[in-house]
């Protein structure tokens, strides 16, 4: 495997061919904020928080899917990037119904952490206050769509790791929603193995364990490939068929 040398924030790094900018950054302790990215799941480049500048191009590139090339000069913390990251968190905060004070993951929430990191003292966009639903039909878990940030980690972990594909996204644009099966109650799903991976990977309080109250739910998000229980059951799932949503 070849090695490429590139510069990131004025420091030289060498990367294995095939590694992404984000991987090199993480391996070397350079912090780039992320939300949709989770190690072990296919990267989708959707949240745009990890965008970086590459010298010579006016465009911005997601660090999670972009691979360094020989001699590339990457910047991860410019004023422009900081401003855009703050606006992205601002947009997210305005999109859902995020009431930290009454949330199970208050204090252990990736959206909160991001808000602190970008210094979000208030949201300039009007809050949308969407009418979202909560589904507590599952015997162990709850999905509260009010708090969903549509990172699709749950969709990907359920498809790519568990192999059950209970979750998917319905509708489009601002009306996107995470749904189970035919937009039917989660508790009725034959496909769900109740493995709880989706709850673990959810960065916010949208997927939660029953019985947890405000600030109680700490999630173990470091990715562990829990034994696959569903993959063998469903013949439509193939390893090649990555979710990518």
């Amino acid at each position: 495997m070849g090695v490429v040398t590139f510069t990131m924030d004025d420091v030289q790094y060498s990367a294995n061919e095939g590694d992404t900018i984000l991987k090199v950054a993480r391996d070397n302790g350079v912090h780039i904020p992320t939300l949709c990215f989770l190690e072990g799941l296919s990267p989708v480049g959707a949240c745009r928080l990890c965008l970086v500048e590459i010298e010579g191009s006016p465009k911005l590139f997601p660090a999670c899917t972009t691979k360094p090339a020989e001699g590339m000069i990457v910047r991860t913390q410019t004023e422009r990037l900081k401003k855009y990251r703050k606006m992205i968190v601002e947009l997210l905060a305005s999109e859902g119904n995020h009431q930290c004070a009454v949330c199970v993951v208050n204090g252990h929430c990736e959206l909160q952490d991001l808000a602190y990191e970008v210094g979000l003292d208030h949201v300039r966009f009007p809050y949308l206050y969407p009418a979202k639903t909560l589904d507590a039909s599952h015997k162990e878990f709850v999905i509260d769509r009010n708090r969903c940030v549509l990172c699709t980690r749950c969709v990907r972990v359920c498809h790519e790791v568990e192999g059950a594909h209970v979750w998917d996204i319905a509708n489009r644009g601002i009306n996107c929603e995470i749904i189970a099966d035919m937009n039917t109650p989660w508790g009725e799903s034959d496909l769900c193995t109740s493995c709880g991976k989706c709850v673990r990977v959810c960065p916010v309080g949208a997927l939660l364990e029953k019985g947890a109250t405000v600030g109680e739910l700490k999630k173990e998000r470091g990715f562990v490939k829990v034994i696959v229980t569903a993959r063998s059951k469903h013949e439509w799932i193939t390893v090649e068929d990555h979710e990518e949503e």
């Binding site: 989708v44 745009r48 949308l128 644009g173």
Partner: protein, 552 residues
């Protein structure tokens, strides 16, 4: 079928056509269908039969004749007489006077020397008004498939690509990427399987160029795709068409069947070793599927959500195989380039943007319809000479190109030449070819809101800037239109537009703010005059000015 057979077939068809005293072509494109060309056709047919001249005349449904606003259009081919607004009565008159007595019915004709026609240059639309859209024989008789023959009888794939590269043909979908370069990358990408995809998901609301080509001259697109397939080493092609275009789908299906029957598509094409199949995939109403990575997912039966590029489809496309994706008009340009050579093509248009561009001219102009003009023509010529200017009593305000991804160009830039770079320099884009003229009755903030509503509805929802950003831009525009917005809203609107443009994942989001930014650039006062003051401190308490901490 061999190449000789094909030549023979062309000759036979020409003889067949020559036996008619008159070839009467009526426009059977969707625009004229809406205006009632079926009634005109029936009346013509009846009159011809009644007067016993049906056998000497051929009545043919042809592709778009261009002046859609004046339809139904009927063209008497032999003496190039074009009749407008042909209803049953006029149809009868045409037969009784023109066909029987040779007297042209002047009061219903359109002068073909009118600038609407004279300023145009037809390459892509050359067969419109010449051939029957549903007959492969007529296409062949009009030199159709001769480019494919030329390619198969002596050109190597490298020859084809170098010809296209020398022609400097650029993608007509809007971005203007060099077609030859794209093909070359696909050809050089190692793979046992490659694909050719024709993007006919024309989603720009106010544009119908691709549809007209597919309805009027479907074989031209098939031929272009087959040549691309040969050049890059693909044996399978897909045409992704909007479901909203049933007539185009029907004619494509028919065309594919005809071509397969004659051995022009399928295995061992024209008895060469080249195999190429084309299948149709029907879209289902998602503008974002015009974005190539979304289109690929849609062809694979998935939600049309784009993915970050690279890798580009030319390396990893359909089923992760190298894939050429071009739009309808690009493929339609290929056969004439191969037929006439690259230097012929570069002699038309400008140096950086050779050839022609098809536009759907609509809105507040006297003559609306489908036009094809050489690149480099000025916008003023298009709007005022070809389009005839705004209707009487109103004044020109702006011309919008590029649809929801484009911008509004005001009077002072009307002398700009139509090419990729010039339009970009004023904040618009070439786009796929929608061209909407606006007059003094159009409120430009409302226009921006109209396009933003479209983008918001069409956002796939994958990336945050586009999903949430377009919603907020729309809400701010709505607030300003209702005269409830403030200076702060206006400033934030501009900040958000730039952010969405720079951070969105795909072309839809990256270009969605263009209509807003361009109207702010040229019609700023239309925004500012609608803004409201905010309530602020009115007293005289002591001042706090310094900051404690780092101002963010």
């Amino acid at each position: 079928m061999t190449i000789e057979d094909l030549h023979e077939l062309a000759e036979k068809e020409r003889q067949r056509q020559a036996q008619y005293k008159y070839r009467i072509l009526y426009c059977s494109s969707a625009g004229c269908v809406s205006s009632g060309c079926e009634a005109a056709r029936t009346a013509l047919k009846q009159a011809l039969e009644e007067h016993g001249v049906a056998k000497q005349c051929e009545l043919v449904g042809t592709g778009c004749l261009g002046m859609c606003g004046e339809g139904p259009l009927v063209l008497v081919h032999n003496d190039q007489t074009l009749y407008q607004r042909v209803d049953a009565t006029i149809a009868r008159k045409i037969v009784e006077e023109h066909i029987l007595k040779g007297n042209i019915v002047r009061e219903h004709t359109i002068d073909l020397n009118d600038p609407f026609f004279a300023e145009q240059k037809k390459i892509v639309l050359e067969n419109m008004g010449k051939i029957n859209a549903e007959s492969i024989e007529e296409y062949i008789a009009a030199d159709g498939y001769s480019a494919l023959v030329k390619v198969l009888s002596g050109m190597t794939p490298e020859d084809v690509i170098s010809e296209i590269r020398r022609s400097n043909l650029r993608g007509r979908g809007g971005a203007g990427y060099p077609t030859g370069l794209k093909w070359d990358i696909v050809r050089k990408s190692p793979s046992d399987q490659k694909y050719v995809v024709c993007n006919a998901d024309e989603g720009d609301p106010g544009a119908f160029m691709d549809r007209s080509v597919l309805e009027g001259d479907p074989h031209r697109v098939l031929e272009g795709m087959a040549i691309a397939g040969y050049a890059v080493g693909a044996n399978q092609g897909y045409i992704y068409v909007r479901a909203e275009y049933p007539l185009a789908i029907e004619r494509l299906r028919l065309a594919i069947k005809q071509a397969e029957r004659l051995g022009i598509l399928g295995n061992r094409i024209l008895e060469s070793n080249f195999n190429f199949h084309i299948d149709i995939r029907i879209g289902a109403g998602a503008f974002v599927c015009g974005e190539e990575t979304a289109l690929i997912r849609s062809i694979m039966g998935r939600r049309g959500r784009p993915r970050p590029r690279p890798p580009f489809p030319s390396e990893k496309g359909l089923w992760d195989k190298p894939t050429v994706i071009n739009n309808v008009e690009t493929f339609a340009n290929v056969p004439p380039i191969i037929r006439n050579g690259a230097s012929w093509f570069t002699s038309i248009g400008t140096q950086k943007s050779p050839g022609t561009k098809v536009f759907a001219l609509a809105g507040k102009v006297k003559r609306t319809g489908l036009i094809e003009v050489p690149m480099g023509i000025s916008l003023r010529k298009v709007v005022f000479d070809i389009g005839g200017g705004t209707p009487d009593g109103s004044t020109f305000k702006a011309v919008q190109t590029g649809g929801p991804s484009g911008g509004c160009i005001p009077e002072q830039h009307l002398d700009l030449p139509v090419d990729y770079e010039s339009l970009q320099s004023v904040g618009s884009i070439m786009g796929s070819g929608g061209m909407i003229v606006m007059d003094n009755t159009s409120d430009m903030v409302d226009v921006a809101k109209f396009f933003m509503e479209f983008c918001m509805d069409e956002s796939c929802g994958k990336c945050i800037p586009c999903r949430v950003g377009t919603k907020h831009i729309y809400m701010m525009l709505d607030k300003i239109v209702k005269e409830e917005g403030t200076e702060e809203d206006f400033a934030l609107l501009q900040e958000l537009c730039v952010m969405v443009k720079e951070t969105s994942l795909c072309g839809l989001g990256q270009s969605a703010p263009n209509p807003v930014l361009s109207t702010i650039r040229f019609f700023r006062e239309e925004y500012t005059k609608k803004l409201q003051p905010t309530s602020c401190y009115e007293g005289n308490a002591s001042t706090i000015t310094e900051t404690n901490g780092e101002q963010k």
